[in-house]
Structures are given as C-alpha cells and as structure tokens.
C-alpha cells in the first residue's frame, strides 16, 4: 500500500467514506488529512476527527505506563499524617478500607468505581484493542470491548480525585504534618497517562483499524477453509 506522507490511517483514503457531526448531524465526506491535522464540521465547527501521529504506538505506550502507575497508586504509600508523634501512613487501598470501616460505605463504593474500577477498565480495554491492532490483528469480543471503552470515558474521575487530594491536604495541614508518598506521585502519572493514551488515537481511526483487521481475518479464514476443501 502506498500512503500519503506519514499517512497510516487505513480508511482515510477510501472514497465515499462519510462522517456525521455528533452535535449537528451534518453529513460530510471524509477528507484526507495529514498526520497532526484535524477536521471540523462545516456547519458548527465541532471537531470531527483528528489524525494522530503514531496513534497506536502512543495508545499502547501510555496505556502500559498507565497500568504500571495504576498499581503504584493502589499499593504504594499515599499520604503520611504525623500528629503529635503518632504517624499514620495509608495507601489508596487502605484509604478505601478505612473509609468503609468508618461508615462511609457509599463514598467507598464511589471511590472504588470512579477511581479504581473504571480507569482500570479503560486501560484494559485500550490495551486489549490496541496491542493486537499494532500487528493488524484483533482479539475475540473486540466490538464489546470497544463499546465499553467508548461509554466509560466520561466517567473517569482520577483528575477530580487529584484535585480533592490537594484540597484535603490544605485541611490536613492545619492538624498535622502531612507528606505525600509514591502512591500520590503515581496517581499524578496515572492521570497524565490516561489522558495521553485515550486521546492518543481518534475514535474513528480506532474503529477503522478494527474493521480492517476483522476483514483481513475473515479473508484469511476463508482462504484456510478453501485450502482444506481442495
């Protein structure tokens, strides 16, 4: 295949490929754009799609680093509180356990869902799709995982939790000596990795690549079956 200069997005070249603006529903012919550029709606100027350079590599690299920092955030010491000689150090996991034991069950479940489960699901689904895609393959159930990846995105709240930590630090500083551990720094790194990995690849490009990989698999399967018959 010959691509435009640094152009690797597969279906961007196809003719008659259409896209509708999700704000005003204006129908556009997909325009070929170079990497680094973006296309907007002619009617309302909303962003339609972006052609990210090294999109898959980026999604995978930041997804993997995100997974690493996620473990760090959970397990490593998050905050140390030193009040009149007695120091308390907690990790994020301990924070949620203590919260649960203190009667804050609904809040504990909220933190569990928005800070642990959903970010982990996003990272997992992104890697599940993108690692095989970088070799032009897909794993079973890719459509379902892609669906999850799409609907979970608005519910990721790691950066909101980060802001909450900063605010509580100011409250805690009045009462005791506070110091942040590696768990806290992992959370900041996770927050940045999540943002970079999710925005690393355009949604339309992701699905175009899935479609191409699935079509190739069907072709190969058909070829294998044909071979057996002969």
């Amino acid at each position: 295949m010959n691509f435009l200069h640094r152009q690797t997005w597969p279906r961007l070249r196809d003719e008659g490929h259409e896209v509708a603006c999700h704000f005003c529903d204006s129908l556009h012919e997909v325009e070929l754009i170079e990497e680094g550029q973006s296309a907007s709606c002619n009617t309302c100027n909303t962003l339609l799609y972006r052609n990210r350079p090294q999109s898959l590599e980026r999604a995978v690299a930041f997804g993997l680093s995100g997974a690493l920092f996620f473990i760090g955030m959970l397990a490593l010491p998050f905050i140390t509180l030193d009040a009149q000689g007695s120091a308390t150090t907690v990790s994020m996991v301990e924070t949620v356990v203590r919260l649960w034991l203190q009667g804050g069950r609904t809040i504990a479940i909220t933190v569990l869902a928005f800070i642990f489960v959903l970010p982990l699901t996003i990272l997992f689904s992104l890697l599940y799709i993108c690692i095989p895609l970088s070799r032009g393959k897909t794993l079973p159930g890719v459509q379902l995982v892609g669906y999850l990846f799409q609907v979970i995105q608005p519910w990721i709240m790691v950066e909101v939790f980060f802001l909450g930590t900063m605010v509580s630090l100011l409250k805690l500083m009045k009462l005791a000596d506070v110091s942040m551990g590696f768990g806290f720094w992992s959370m900041i790194a996770l927050m940045l990795s999540l943002a970079a990995s999710v925005s690393g690849i355009d949604r339309i490009e992701l699905w175009d690549r899935i479609e191409v990989a699935l079509a190739r698999k069907d072709q190969e399967d058909a070829a294998v079956e044909g071979g057996v018959e002969c």
């Binding site: 005003c24 609904t106 669906y147 009462l175 899935i210």
Partner: protein, 204 residues
C-alpha cells in the same frame, strides 16, 4: 448549512461513527444499536434534572461530614466548609470548592433546562451558542465530585480517637446521587434536535 445525515436517510453510529442507512437498526461494524436521535431525549433529560434538583437541596443543606473534636460533635455543610476556607484566607480553595460543588451543579441544571426549552422551540438562541453550552455542561460535570473525594480522604485519615474523628454526613449520599444524575441528564440530551429545528425553520 450542510444537510443532516437524517435528512439524507442516513444514521451515524454513536459508538464507532460509521454512517449507515437509516433503515438499519444495528451497526454493521460495532454491533451497537443505531438511533438517528437519542430516544425521548428531552423527556429523559427533564426527568433526570427533576431528580437532580431533589438531590441538590439536601446535598447543600445537610452536613456532608460530621466532625467530633474533644467529645463535641458538629456537622459541616459544603457552604460551611467554603466559609471556613474563606476565613482562613485560603481564597483560591474556597473559590474552587464553591464553584465545583455549588455553582457548577446549579448552573448545569439551569443550562440543561434552557437547552431542553430550546429543543422544544420555547426559547430562541443561536445553535452555535447552544453547542457551546452543551459542550460545557458535559465537560464540567465530573468536577462536582471533588468535595465527595475530599470527604473520602478526611474520613479515612482523621481517626485520632477522642482527639478528633470525622464521619461522612447524610449529604454525602445525596451529593453523589446529584452529580451522577446531572451527568446522566447531560448524556441523555441530544444537541442534534436543536439543529433539526433550525433546519426546519430555515427551509420553510
């Protein structure tokens, strides 16, 4: 103005953005259900907003945490917390909490009611401005959860026996509910119906 996919007999998948014929009910590429417009979006949005308002009031009136200090128990509301930070001269923090917890949810509910009225043709506004308002309501929604997370950290950390302990107050649950409900309300709204109305009026 370009013609909409709907006018051209087409529908765009809300998951993978593939454009199909409007007669299809399932996307051939990602297997999700296809809807030209979100079903009953205005009614759903209004219902969810109504529920959010019901949760918004106790979330701001009841104490979000209960502080026991040297045997004295005292409730702390969100606005009370803002006032304490203000007295401490921590103005940026006081402003952040006030904006995230009180202003954003309140304004978001008003903005969505306005957008629903616009979709029903009860008020007038340029559709581009409506887009901006909708984009903002979707963007800022999550940030209202910040005070819940502050309570989470304080409750988990401040357990110093008789000296001082903090427990979550009754407002915490209504607050979480309120944030989730306003987010669901924003997701259920479909800005394309505002544009449909503009297309109809400009063509007739």
């Amino acid at each position: 103005m370009l013609k909409s996919a709907q006018e051209l007999g087409k529908v765009s998948c809300h998951i993978c953005a593939q454009v199909s014929s409007i007669e299809k009910h399932v996307c051939g590429r990602c297997h999700s259900d296809l809807h030209s417009r979100k079903t009953n979006s205005v009614q759903r949005c209004i219902a969810l907003l109504f529920a959010s308002v019901i949760a918004y009031i106790p979330a701001n009136v009841w104490p979000i945490m209960v502080i026991t200090q040297l045997g004295v128990t005292e409730g702390s509301t969100i606005l009370g917390g803002v006032a304490i930070f203000w007295q401490m001269k921590a103005y940026p923090i006081a402003t952040v909490i006030f904006i995230a917890s009180v202003l954003i949810p309140g304004l978001k509910i008003i903005a969505l009611i306005w957008l629903c009225a616009l979709a029903k043709g009860l008020v007038k506004m340029s559709p581009k401005s409506a887009n901006k308002i909708y984009w903002l309501t979707e963007l800022v929604g999550r940030w209202s959860m910040v005070d819940v997370f502050v309570v989470a950290i304080l409750v988990a950390l401040i357990q110093m026996g008789n000296l001082m302990s903090i427990e979550p107050g009754p407002a915490a649950v209504s607050f979480i509910l309120m944030v989730v409900l306003t987010m669901l309300a924003a997701h259920s709204f479909d800005p394309r119906i505002i544009w449909d109305r503009v297309r109809i009026t400009s063509s007739s």
